[in-house]
């Protein structure tokens, strides 16, 4: 696996051709696609670990494929969904490198860029830096609180088994 950072320049060139630099989509697309590989990997593991008997039992009980998916399979993969969701959220929320390249207009800036802006060549606004750091951590904290009951099992369950 290559570090994601090395794809930033090609991405920038591509997105500038497409006119996506300095737009939210310029970040949204790479964030979504970037988190997909690990998410798919974890979710595949999660679905694979559900015994086939459960699908079959549901189909004999009268559920169609969609119903089996929503009523049986999806609830059983919640720990993995929680893991994947938190992972994807944190990856995007805390990214600085890509946003720094894609977003030049400071009205579009993400919080990590604003945070970085508090560090100036000759002065660092430590007070503001600390305050914004705390503000930034609140959503992460909230998301973690929501998912934590799944997360403890999910962290191991998603990777090896569901």
């Amino acid at each position: 696996m290559f570090p994601g950072v090395i794809t930033i320049i090609p991405q920038f060139l591509l997105f500038s051709t497409l006119g996506l630099v300095d737009t939210y989509f310029g970040c949204i697309i790479p964030y979504a696609v970037g988190s997909l590989s690990l998410s798919v990997f974890i979710m595949k593991g999660a679905f694979d670990s559900i015994p086939r008997d459960l699908d079959e039992a549901a189909s004999l009980d009268g559920a169609g494929e969609m119903r089996t998916f929503y009523k049986i399979l999806l609830p059983l993969t919640l720990p993995s969904i929680a893991t994947v969701a938190l992972w994807a959220f944190m990856g995007s929320w805390l990214d600085w490198a890509l946003a720094n390249v894609m977003l030049k207009d400071n009205t579009l800036w993400t919080l990590p860029l604003a945070l970085y802006d508090f560090i100036q060549p000759n002065f660092t606004y430590y007070g503001s830096f600390a305050a914004l750091s705390i503000i930034m951590s609140i959503p992460v904290f909230i998301v973690f609180m929501i998912f934590q009951k799944y997360l403890v099992t999910g962290l191991t369950a998603g990777s090896v088994k569901g």
Binding site: P51, D53, L54, E56, A57, A58, S59, L60, D61, G62, A63, G64, R67, K71, I72, P75, L76
Partner: protein, 362 residues
């Protein structure tokens, strides 16, 4: 309720034939047990009836309708899996209600049916628990409950008792038989446990290598096996098989093992023409062998190399040359290891199997 009919059903996985040309007629309300060793195709056959596998050739009928192209959910059958396949995130109540919800029963009907089923299976106090909070036996009952809750046409059961401990298995076996008779629902039950098959079945279908060997009432299959495989599979301990030659004598016939010979019952001797002889296998069950501490006419001396006490009886393992013979004896029979006992192998219930085809000749 409906019967089930399999007509020339075969199933091939890649290059392996799992089920070969199976013809089976399960009557309305009948308890049919598919019995056989691991990998004999019995579970595949059951899954074909359920619609979880498509037969490579042949057809399945439930009642009068051909169901080859009918989805499992529309076949109106219920299946109990070996793993129980309970929905782990739902309570027992919701597990039972699930098949009813899928079939759009009203809330009131669902409550009535769930309560009734829970009462039938004596698990009303478990309704709010989740599967992981239940013992193996309780889970097994929930799985059964999920099958009976909507009165399907046919029950399919895939070794549902194999995860229970020995004592619970015996108890559940009786309950299951009782329940099936009360509900009167046609049932196909898969097992590799011959004791389970004997106690549960109205009829047993014995399978090997994807083919049905014999179908019949348990007593019939036990007493009159069609071939050596069936004879050896049913009964515990397994039937004793002795290779050798049966030979006509002046007033009857003897079976010669090469090591020793013993007279055979006229019923067994009937396989021979007068003056003839035939190579084959003599089969006799442990309970048909007479054991004694002294020589009697026609008995053979064997050395005891072990005995299993079963409670009111014991199985004496005797050896002579290359032969191992197991005979049933009363509990108090004295057979210390290394001693000699006399076994009488002449019995009207013995069988004779052809050396080449292994088919039972008597």
């Amino acid at each position: 309720m409906a019967g089930v009919r399999l007509q020339n059903v075969s199933k091939v996985f890649k290059n392996t034939a799992a089920v070969r040309d199976v013809n089976l007629d399960v009557e309305v309300g009948e308890f049919l047990v598919l019995l056989g060793p691991s990998g004999c195709g019995k579970t595949t056959t059951l899954r074909i009836v359920a619609g979880l596998e498509k037969p490579s050739t042949g057809s399945v009928y439930i009642g009068d309708s051909q169901v080859d192209d009918v989805l499992p959910k529309d076949r109106d059958i219920a299946m109990v899996f070996q793993s129980y396949a309970l929905y782990p995130h739902m309570t027992v109540h919701d597990n039972l209600a699930f098949p009813l919800k899928m079939r759009k029963y009203s809330k009131q009907q669902i409550e009535e049916q769930v309560t009734k089923t829970a009462e039938t299976l004596e698990m009303s106090n478990l309704l709010q628990r989740r599967p992981k909070e239940l013992s193996g036996g309780q889970r097994q009952r929930v799985a059964l409950g999920r099958a009976i809750v909507r009165n399907p046409k046919v029950f399919l059961m895939d070794e549902p008792l194999s995860n229970l401990d020995a004592k619970l298995r015996v108890q559940t076996r009786v309950e299951l038989k009782n329940l099936q008779k009360r509900l009167g629902t046609t049932t196909i039950y898969v097992t590799h446990d011959q004791a389970e098959a004997m106690t549960l079945a109205d009829r047993v279908a014995l399978m090997r290598n994807g083919m049905i060997q014999q179908v019949g009432r348990p007593t019939e299959v036990y007493a009159h096996p069609v071939n050596k495989f069936v004879a050896g599979f049913l009964g515990s301990p397994t039937m004793n098989f002795v290779e050798g030659t049966i030979r006509s004598t002046g007033d009857g016939a003897v079976f010669d093992t090469g090591e020793f010979s013993f007279p055979v019952h006229p019923r067994v001797a009937s396989v021979l023409l007068p003056g003839g002889s035939k190579k084959g296998t003599y089969g006799i069950r442990a309970e048909d062998i007479g054991v004694g501490n002294g020589e009697t006419e026609g008995s053979a001396e064997v050395k005891v190399f072990g005995s299993e006490l079963m409670g009111s009886e014991q199985f004496v393992h005797g050896t002579r040359g290359k032969l191992d013979i197991i005979a049933r004896a009363p509990m108090e029979f004295q057979a210390p290891i290394g001693s000699s006992v006399w076994m009488n192998l002449t019995s009207p219930n013995a069988h004779f199997f052809d050396a080449e085809t292994e088919m039972a000749l008597v």
